[in-house]
Amino acid sequence: MTRTRPPVRPRPAEHRAGPRVPLVLALPAAAAVLVLLLPLVALVSRAPWSGAGTVLAAPEVGQALWLSLRCATAATLLSLVLGVPLAWVLARADLPGTGVLRALVTLPVVLPPVVGGVALLMLLGRRGLLGAHLDAWFGVTVPFTTVAVVLAETFVALPFLVLSVEGTLRAAPRGADEAAAVLGADRWYTFRRVTLPRVAPGVVAGAVLCFARALGEFGATVTFAGSFPGTTRTMPLAIQEAMERDPDAAVALSLLLVALSLVALVALHGRWAGRVLG
């Protein structure tokens, strides 16, 4: 090699858009892109295109996909019902100890999901804190059921929705809420008819994020709910299972999940872009 050229020759459009990226930032940034994208490139390169049809047409795949979509949808709905009010409390209620509460309820974001699974088992397992009573009084056991999958996914994904909605609530000016209150609307009416419509984009973004996280949930699900086709074996569990039996099938299933996650992400960005441009 004779002389090193700058890694990226700026095209006129980029040049107009802003200052040139200094090399000291460009190199690690390029490395970051490689770290994030090379594994996905490898996944695509190993895709068994010829056999993908047979792999994806297998009944277990449809079963796992359908179960995943149902569970992630249920977890998202549950998160909306519980999470939007929690976000409002964190953003607006001015209660003492809100900071501590926020830290505690968002702990699952940084917690390894498998820890969540163990914790859920200790709470709702057949000998768990609550589970023992559920079993003794009602004959209800939660582990190994689809309900357990939804609970595990909700535990892991709910904080994403709460954080997103709370951020939007904090950013939204309170003027309209206060005006509604001055005009005699009670707090529930104000929340429903004034606050909620104004933060709707944040709620949608939070719900999409929550859905994507629930769709990918593995650790808490396998620990708490177990793995059984049609009942608890969601796509991530099916991928892990396929990896031990037929790595090609695992690659095909992984790509399907990548595609689904991309759809969610594009939906999120479309919404976000619409908000920024609108």
Binding site: M1, T4, R5, P7, L27, P28, A30, A31, L34, V35, L38, L121, G125, R126, R127, T141, P143, F144, V222, A225, G226, S227, F228, T231, T232, R233, Q240, E241, M243, E244, R245, P247
Partner: protein, 254 residues
């Protein structure tokens, strides 16, 4: 340009690799192996191999032993993916065969037998394999890909019973844990697992005509970073002392 873009991640990758790399198996002054030894072993070998660790490290003070216990099919996939391991011990000959030429002449060192395991209070009153066909019984089985799952399938086939499992676990210890925690009424695991779990569970042996067992082959890996230590470890497992430890853990030794 490309080389500069690629250089950094490569350096990072090398750094990461160096963190997990082995010292080469150079011989020390007394002629024994040194360095690190990585053994990938079936989950059911945990107790026996942990006891052999002390013996091995006493005999070869220059060697640091690291065990990774998991389902045999997981381990086989790791070896195929190039995991830097020295010894592979699986819970069945078909899972050992998955790695093909990467295993250097596997030898069977132990045999394990399948048993029903129930929580010590036996909440569902299980007495035989036939009870496991009751959909009201919460049952954990190993996934069919791992040896204990294959052995369970053989036992049910031999008994002409269709089980109604509630979960397929990724390895035998995961299935055992479900019974230890009392989350399931029964699981099918190996005799050695029932012995290792102690007081919290009870084992129910299967009748002779459906008795299902599995062989444990051990092999030095052809791409072992430390083949000297690997051979020494396999020799220990096959020695009189190794056989005794395996027998005490509940294995049959050929």
């Amino acid at each position: 340009m490309l080389s500069r873009l690629v250089a950094l991640p490569v350096l990072v990758a090398l750094g990461v690799a160096a963190c997990g790399s082995h010292a080469p198996g150079a011989d020390d002054a007394e002629g024994g192996p040194t360095g690190a030894l990585t053994v990938l072993a079936a989950a059911s070998l945990r107790d026996a191999f942990e006891r052999l660790r002390g013996v091995f490290e006493d005999e070869h003070p220059g060697v640091t032993v690291t065990f990774a216990f998991a389902g045999s099919s997981t381990l086989a996939q790791q070896v195929l993916a190039g995991a830097p391991a020295d010894v592979l011990a699986t819970a069945s000959t078909p899972t050992m065969a998955l790695v093909g030429d990467l295993a250097d002449e596997p030898v069977v060192v132990a045999r394990n037998t399948l048993e029903i395991v129930v929580p010590v209070d036996n909440p569902a009153g299980i007495t035989s394999l036939a009870d496991l066909a009751d959909p009201g019984v919460t049952l954990a089985l190993c996934a069919p890909e791992v040896p204990c799952g294959a052995a369970a399938a053989d036992a049910f086939a031999a008994a002409g019973i269709t089980p109604t499992p509630d979960t397929y676990e990724k390895d035998v210890t995961a299935a055992l844990t479900r019974a230890v925690l009392g989350e399931v009424d029964a699981a099918l695991v190996y005799r050695t697992d029932v012995l290792a779990a102690g007081e919290s569970v009870r084992g129910i042996p299967l009748p002779d005509d459906v008795r299902s067992s599995t062989d444990y082959p051990v092999a030095v890996l052809t791409e072992a970073p430390n083949p000297d230590a690997a051979r020494a470890f396999v020799a220990l497992v096959r020695s009189a002392q190794g056989r005794q430890v395996l027998t005490e853990a509940g294995f049959e030794v050929p």
